[in-house]
Amino acid sequence: MDKDKCTGCGVCAEACPIRYEVQLPPEEEAKARSAYAQATDEAVVAEIIDLYRDEPGNLLPILLDINSHFRWLPRPALDHLSQELQTPLSEILRVASFYNAFSLVPRGEHIINVCLGTGCFVKGSPRILAELERKLGVKHGQTTEDMLFTLEVVRCIGCCALAPAMRVGDDTFGRLTPGQVGKIIDSYTKTANL
């Protein structure tokens, strides 16, 4: 883009067919691409697509399955999907970037969801989150360097009566105190190192 001529009118951004694409810095982009090993992963994606092929409105279920298999939506998988469903990539990216469940960047092995629902909020979940951010050295929405943990926030997991709560992968923890958080994280780090 020629900065001297740009008036900031926004027409190009409006017309851009890939405006929903997440722009990664080059080194992140390389990491993201290498996390998707072509041959085996392609078979997985093909299998998922076949599962829902004839169903009307199948984009969301397919994306959810891909997202849960890889823990994120690898770009080559979306390219593949775009061709199979005959849907423009821009439309797929629009859906993928709209919903909170999807990630367009690789996520860690364990996804930590700290509940920030109202029940948890009034019982002190911001402090649980702050403790996790300190412990893991990342902000929410980020992944640790070793790709072991991704820290995310969720708006209510329905565990309000046992607030504050969080979920690590499929395990739910209730009645948390900031002091317990470290031990819970350590238990996952240990299993990973075995």
Partner: protein
Amino acid sequence: MKLTSLEQLQKIKEKGLQQTYPDKIKIMVGMATCGISAGADKVYKALEDKIAALKMDAVLEMTGCIGFCQQEPLVDVVYPKKVRVSYATMTPAKAEALVEALNAGEFFGENVLCRIDQEEFLVEGTKKTYANPHPPELPGDVPKYEELPFFKKQVKIALRNCGYIHPERIEEYIGRGGYTALHQVLTGMQPEEVIAQVKDSGLRGRGGAGFPTGVKWEFCRKAAGDLKYIICNADEGDPGAFMDRGILEGDPHAVIEGMAIGAYAIGASQGYVYCRAEYPLAIHRLQIAIKQAEDLGLLGDKIFGTPFSFKLKIRKGAGAFVCGEETSLIASIEGKVGEPRPRPPFPAQSGLWGRPTIINNVKTWSHIAPIMARGAEWYAGFGSETSKGTTVFALVGKVNNTGLVEIPLGITLREMIFEIGGGIAGGRAFKAVQTGGPSGGCIPEEFLDTPVDYESLGALGSIMGSGGMIVMDERDCMVDVAKYFIDFTKDESCGKCTPCREGTLRLMEMLEEVTAGRGQEGDIEKLEKLSRVIKKMSLCGLGQTAPNPVLSTIKYFRDEYEAHIWAKKCPAHVCKELITYRVVPDNCIGCQLCRLKCPVEAITGAKKVVHEILQEKCIKCGTCYEKCKFDAIVVE
């Protein structure tokens, strides 16, 4: 086997009753998400291992949540034909002791919550009495279920089976009268009669808006088109609410049966349950339930041998609050971005794939079968003049008894909070109760005698909502709470219409300034003005109600806003920029606890030396304040 007659259903019912009430001791563990997160899975394992080790002749089962989440993990012991005893806050060690006592034929006297002498079979209108007179081996001081303040005022219709049956067994649902209403409707009622009965019952949409269910069905029945759809809205996005999860995890067939009856009434043959992906266990149990219903021919082609066919599918949400709005939900099922569209046309005329569609909430659907079986008059006998029946609330926050509560509409907020909820935890003072989630408002103490119904809560600037009820005490800052909700709606605004997208962002910025002590004269008026604009101009319910938390907190807690703006103080000591933690030298004995617990080493001092907080390092996390046993740390 596909069921075609009432006799066949009866046979399954007998089998189900045998399973629910076996001839030997049965131990049940509440295994909904709430129970599991409190450790019910470990308790279950301990029970299982101990029963196996002692080779005891007992049945171990899981069940849904009976509602008293505060007391989880809950374990129930059913003594055949005698009594059922509930045990609260169980641990694996206590579970082992329980099995040992049972094996020795003794009564286990610890952690007893209550005894249940009889169970109500709501759909049939009968009561199953365990024993009469009361079993002598049970101590006399065990309170009865109906005497506990938490359960006393509750009337369980939607939650009728939660905590009583195995949620993954259709026989047990049928055992308590399940699917008889569907049989009755399909074999003996015209669709118009079904709709009339729902209309007469006075049932209103339990998703929050409160539109009369029967009227909506009638619109859809009369809409032109041979293909119609039924949807169950289980996208319970309201933070602080888990009623739908409780029902789906504890009694999924109640929803399926209600939907099948609804489908017959409006003439639909395909249904969807749109459930949020954050509820994996609910989805899992619903999948099992649908499969079982299909196997028995209660879903699929020619149900009960009649020409009526109905198929049901689950669609998972993907984490978007706006998808609880019906037009967004439809767009999401269609595989699109979940953005709302203007109404009319309403979904009852043109919904999923342009066809007439009925969307009702999980709670609404689970009320349908009892209304059909017991009649409109029976249902309308509960509740108040304009709001009939019962509704389920998730009572959470700073009350002693948190959990799922089903109450007849019209009881007062005070009864909810101080009787069922058992008052404020820690003996602190009540400040506000929040209903309706991000669309609702905060109600202060002077209105605690307001009845809980659609109109009364609406008049106070809140809404009934889907059923979240969050109680706040003196340590909650109302400006911070308003900021929390606006932060939520700002994140969840889909971005389609400008008032909601930009307006919530600007509200957020203004509230951030106020909570950071940078508020100025006129800020409150600006907040009010912008709120009114957002309410009037937004496209869907999300934006139209988003400013309610701001408006209601300004209306009832204006003094707190003023304290932030003028005195630069946060009266509840929540807003970090406006508070400081300080050591009271006279009280500090130099125990070092706070110094060791401080996550950022902001406290200096040594053994038996008065400590000091380095303000430039302090992150105001409050850890020292909570850890100190000598009241030597104050916040101001």
